[in-house]
């Protein structure tokens, strides 16, 4: 079976999001002078995390729907 492209996209952005969010939480505030005082790593990290999880969710739903229903074949005598 062919790979669903939403798996790697979701996986990569979830990782990026998680890394940036955590980094945003622990990093020094002085660093964000460049970005107009906004903790962009934290906020954009959360955006990426949400996008990544959404893609993984879509991929999972498609995977569930494509799986043949096992119970149907075993219930017939």
């Amino acid at each position: 079976m062919r790979l669903d492209v939403r798996w790697p996209i979701g996986g990569m952005f979830t990782m990026f999001g998680a890394i940036l969010t955590v980094y945003g939480l622990v990093s020094n505030r002085a660093m964000y002078e460049k970005s107009l005082g906004i903790n962009v790593n934290l906020w954009w990290g959360l955006v990426l995390l949400a996008f990544g999880l959404l893609m993984l969710g879509f991929a999972y739903r498609a995977y569930r729907e494509s799986k043949p229903k096992v119970t149907d074949s075993t219930s017939t005598p």
Partner: protein, 569 residues
């Protein structure tokens, strides 16, 4: 110029990206069983994936860096390359040309020419296209390595080897499917990597109104009306009123018609993505789906350039000054990245830049290996072999294509003028191509001789026009006027290029028409079924709900892009 220094987290993001790109190739290696799997993804790609790959293959290095540079140089007028120079052509190829490209089962654009006309027309197109893709991919690689050397202090050789090896591995393993999947991933990365930059820049200058005020200074300093950088049409009445040096007629006909239709409707690099789609409907929707992000792309690639020049004017020294005393416009995006993004997001932004280079390069390499294998090797060198043989040739062509691109990248460092000249020659060959397709697809009387000699006439017309005219202030040579006499002086290089394309198209159109009427048809109506409009059953969209029909999407795209033109008038 101060270099941007990267932290550990930035490298981590870049490495994670490499792992995913290579991982996609690895995961797809088992899908490749036949040559059609390798070159056309087994014609099974869903429309949305093909559509995003279509736009991503076009979103290469020259596009991202070049459009930001134009945004700084010409302002919002650069959006003509999108709303005039892409939308109508993308709608046209989807609605009217895809039925013949996809319906004929041609495996490449040159192969369509063979089916519709003859072997010599195909050979002319295939050979020039194959050479051109190698050079584009090489020039792209050269630009990436130069940029990273300048901005990050990375080794030039290191960048070339790294990008070449990664692209080689993922195409070698997974063929076109791998390139397409990665293009979709790269598309999202480019959007999500550059978006924070645009948002921060806009916030910093005080929104669109703040930017307008800053760009008014830029415009008046350059001797134009204050709104010249923020209006796309208002100052198009005369070339002397706008920084592009263009007037509306030349723009609409040259860019909006000749250049744009020539690229979007005949360039195999993008058409290949639609040919890989899973059904006729999916193939027709591919360019239309691609048109949606393309329409919004100015916000992502032109706006950073406008922001950079606005900041450059108001704060001074934002862009480094080049040897010619002008700001180095090509550095607009990297400078913005370094200015606004802290470690972390900076890594994401640079990874997005890397992704744009790779998607452009992979697009060229996959188009090259198909044309080489099907249109040159299988046709002229060793026909009649097994499918497995051609699959192996495709793998070898991928390696060869990458090595040749690396060679082209290195030759760009030493013989820059030769590469410029080659690109010029190719533009003469490609300029007239759309006339051939238009007549071929919509007039069954078009003959093979008409097509071939019409193409040659168009190419010669382009070369003559270019050789006899000159942009203002240029010396005769590569910029035009190399035939000795200068019959006309254009207000800018861009105007000269647009008019050259229009002359090429007209020359080809007229010659093809006349020669076709004077020569006998070589193909019967029966042989042209599925290749010509009047001999092909019409597409039936009637059984689809109205909102799923390609034509609905097409109308929506045209309406919204017209609105955008009005808003930024």
């Amino acid at each position: 110029m101060q270099r941007i220094s990267l932290g550990g987290i930035d490298y981590a993001i870049l490495i994670i990206y490499f792992v995913f790109v290579l991982g996609i190739g690895w995961a797809l290696r088992r899908v490749i069983r036949s040559s059609e799997d390798f070159f056309l993804s087994g014609r099974s790609i869903p429309a949305w994936i093909a559509g995003l790959a279509f736009i991503s293959a076009n979103l290469g290095a020259q596009e991202v860096i070049g459009m930001a540079a134009s945004g700084a140089k010409y302002g919002i007028m650069t959006s003509h390359f999108y709303w005039v120079g892409a939308m109508p052509a993308m709608v046209f190829v989807g609605l009217f040309m895809m039925p013949f490209y996809y319906g004929s089962r041609a495996r490449s654009v040159p192969e369509y020419l063979k089916l519709r006309f003859d072997e010599k027309t195909r050979a002319l197109n295939a050979i020039t296209f194959a050479v051109m893709t190698i050079f584009s991919s090489g020039i792209s690689m050269y630009a990436l390595a130069k940029l990273f050397e300048l901005v990050l202090g990375w080794s030039f050789h290191g960048s070339i080897v790294l990008s070449a090896v990664i692209v080689l591995i993922y195409i070698f393993l997974g063929g076109l499917t791998s390139a397409i999947y990665n293009e979709v991933l790269q598309f999202f990365l480019i959007v999500l990597g550059f978006l924070p930059l645009v948002l921060l820049g806009l916030k910093d200058v005080g929104g669109w109104s703040g930017l307008t005020a800053k760009l008014a200074t830029v415009a008046t300093n350059a001797g134009f009306a204050p709104g010249a950088w923020t209006h796309s049409w208002k100052y198009m009445d005369s070339p002397s009123h706008n920084p592009m040096g263009m007037e509306w007629f030349g723009l609409v006909m040259g860019l909006g018609f000749a250049l744009s239709f020539g690229y979007w409707c005949t360039d195999f690099l993008v058409v290949q993505r639609a040919m890989a789609a899973g059904s006729m409907t999916a193939a027709r929707r591919t360019p239309l789906i691609a048109a949606v992000p393309k329409m919004l792309m100015p916000a992502l690639v032109i706006l950073p350039g406008m922001l950079a020049i606005g900041l450059h004017a108001s704060r001074g020294g934002f862009l480094p000054i080049g040897a010619d005393g002008q700001p180095n416009y090509n550095l607009a995006i990297p400078m913005m990245l370094g200015h606004y993004l802290p470690s972390g997001l900076l890594g994401l932004g640079l990874t997005a830049l890397m992704a744009s280079f790779m998607s452009g390069m992979a697009g060229n390499v996959t188009a090259f290996n198909s044309v080489w294998t099907y249109d040159i090797y299988q046709t002229h060198i060793r026909p009649g072999q097994t499918d497995g043989h051609y699959l192996r040739v495709g793998h070898a062509a991928t390696v060869f294509g990458i090595l040749a691109s690396v060679l082209a990248a290195y030759s760009a460092t030493r013989f820059n003028n030769i590469l410029d000249m080659l690109q010029l020659v190719f533009s003469f060959v490609n300029g007239p191509l759309f006339a051939t397709f238009l007549l071929g697809m919509f007039w069954r009387r078009t003959t093979s001789h008409g097509a071939f000699y019409g193409l040659l006439t168009g190419t010669i017309t382009a070369a003559l026009h270019y050789g006899l005219t000159l942009p203002r202030g240029a010396v005769p040579g590569i910029k035009g006027g190399f035939l000795g006499a200068v019959l006309h002086v254009y207000p800018s290089e861009m105007a000269l290029n647009f008019w050259t394309a229009l002359f090429a198209w007209t020359g080809c159109f007229v010659a093809t028409l006349v020669i076709s009427l004077c020569t006998k048809r070589t193909k019967t109506d029966d042989e042209l079924r599925g290749l010509v409009h009047s001999l092909t059953p019409r597409q039936r969209d009637g059984d689809m709900p109205w909102y799923k029909r390609p034509v609905t999407l097409a109308v929506a795209i045209l309406v919204v892009s017209t609105l955008l033109n009005v808003i930024f008038w």
